[in-house]
Symmetry: C2
Subunit: 313 residues, 2 copies
Amino acid sequence: MASSGSQTKKGNNHSDHLVQPTNPNIAAMKEDVLYHFSLSTSTHDFPAMFGDVKFVCIGGSPTRMEAFAKYMAKELGLDHPGAEYPNICGGTDRYAMFKVGPVLSVSHGIGIPSTSVMLHELIKLLYHARCSNVTIIRIGTSGGIGLKPGSVVITQQALDASFKPVFEQMVLGKPVVQRTRLDEKVAQELMQCALELLTFPTVLGNTMCTSDFYEGQGRLDGALCSYTEQDKQKYLKEAQAAGVCNIEMESSVVAAICGACNIPVAVVCVTLLDRLEGDQVSSPHEVLVEYQERPQRLVSHFIKKRLAAAQSP
Amino acid sequence: MASSGSQTKKGNNHSDHLVQPTNPNIAAMKEDVLYHFSLSTSTHDFPAMFGDVKFVCIGGSPTRMEAFAKYMAKELGLDHPGAEYPNICGGTDRYAMFKVGPVLSVSHGIGIPSTSVMLHELIKLLYHARCSNVTIIRIGTSGGIGLKPGSVVITQQALDASFKPVFEQMVLGKPVVQRTRLDEKVAQELMQCALELLTFPTVLGNTMCTSDFYEGQGRLDGALCSYTEQDKQKYLKEAQAAGVCNIEMESSVVAAICGACNIPVAVVCVTLLDRLEGDQVSSPHEVLVEYQERPQRLVSHFIKKRLAAAQSP
């Protein structure tokens, strides 16, 4: 184990920002089983496996996160014929995880609870691996409000369903409200990357995070629907007035948990449809696939710029 | 299309209970794209594909739901050498779906939002397929309270994190509270099946449904933890006093949405650990695998009994 050496190294560099859970119990645990990753500190050498991670990209779909890892390998010049990108969480089907150089690509499933479980275990993983200066970016899909489908939204503030920049969670049976905290600098850098790429419309705006895709987002096409088209339009217009550019189901918990642990975090989602025009996601498959590559291209550009800046004297 | 024929047949049987969304808009839709299943009424013949479904078993893990489909095929005498069980939702990785005779096996991922999306599309699928007399059963995993690990809990009432039998959801930015409604008769029949099998401890009790696995369930081993061991024990003891036998993350939305659509529904979960004793899920893999088969064995027995009763004169 290279623990003392690496600690000395860290001690020498005052600009290093180590990933640190806010829970003091973690440091005292002899073994930590990350059950939903099928990884454990007693069976896996976290510093060796993950110590060099600087960027964690997360998204709902495991297939998309695998595709992103392969794409990043090409972009970083780490791809070669016959290269394999094994799923590090192959012992479970709850989440999928892939690593390419300093980039970790992890799926989080649909919704706040699924994402919250993943983030708890991810932050503990980064801590056990003694990672430093890590940036987390969610690359996802969303419904837009008043934007051309295929537009990319870099989230300024992650809002709840009543347009407040908070994440509310029940802890020991009582509601606890946390602020959602996204990194302003990372968002600005991402916006600069979009201006450099100039290949798809990109905006910086607020993102509304809901706990349901149908009634929770004012859709008229769910199995249940207790309101009218007029009610829906009124709600979406109110959201638009609050600066909401898109709606998805994970940004608030990502911003709250990473923010609480002081990990710089950003959210970049493509819009698959304009919710002012409809509810169904019915664009052709190949169109949707290309849309979903847009946040990946943007984030790849960001990562390459950051890595180049870190290497320059 | 056999629509008029099958409607006549339904009309002749007054005991038939058709699956019906509560949303009146669905009947008027020309096409319904079930986006997260990668199925559409314009490209798939739902009555032909799903018309004979009588039991829908749902659970978090796609691999487990595939294993359940294969197990049911054997149990129902529908398995044969070289038989394949293709994933009906193969066009997406959001959910997985398998069909064996009258049994549909569908994954729902982790947590209420992920499960809610799946249920909306499932109920619309069953409606478009003109299914009747369908029973939905969640077979899942959970943390027990004061039970030997491996015990199976058949849920009496699905409770929220403050022990109320309700499901609260934001609709158009306002909280809407629904009752959780599980089918008492199905639960009693399942309990009877457990008594007949007598191979693992089974209880009928309340299930607490939370929106997080760590702080939301009072765990001390998450990346964040804002309370003490004493606070945790106090909360779990209060839950126990409210009749809570186990804790999981989906029962309340299952009971609320299916209940609202008058579909008989039950929840059967195995407990992987006793939360009064600890937080980590650290039993050996093969032990956990056997535990997870228990709800499957119980529900298989239930389905076989129901099918035998339907065939008897």
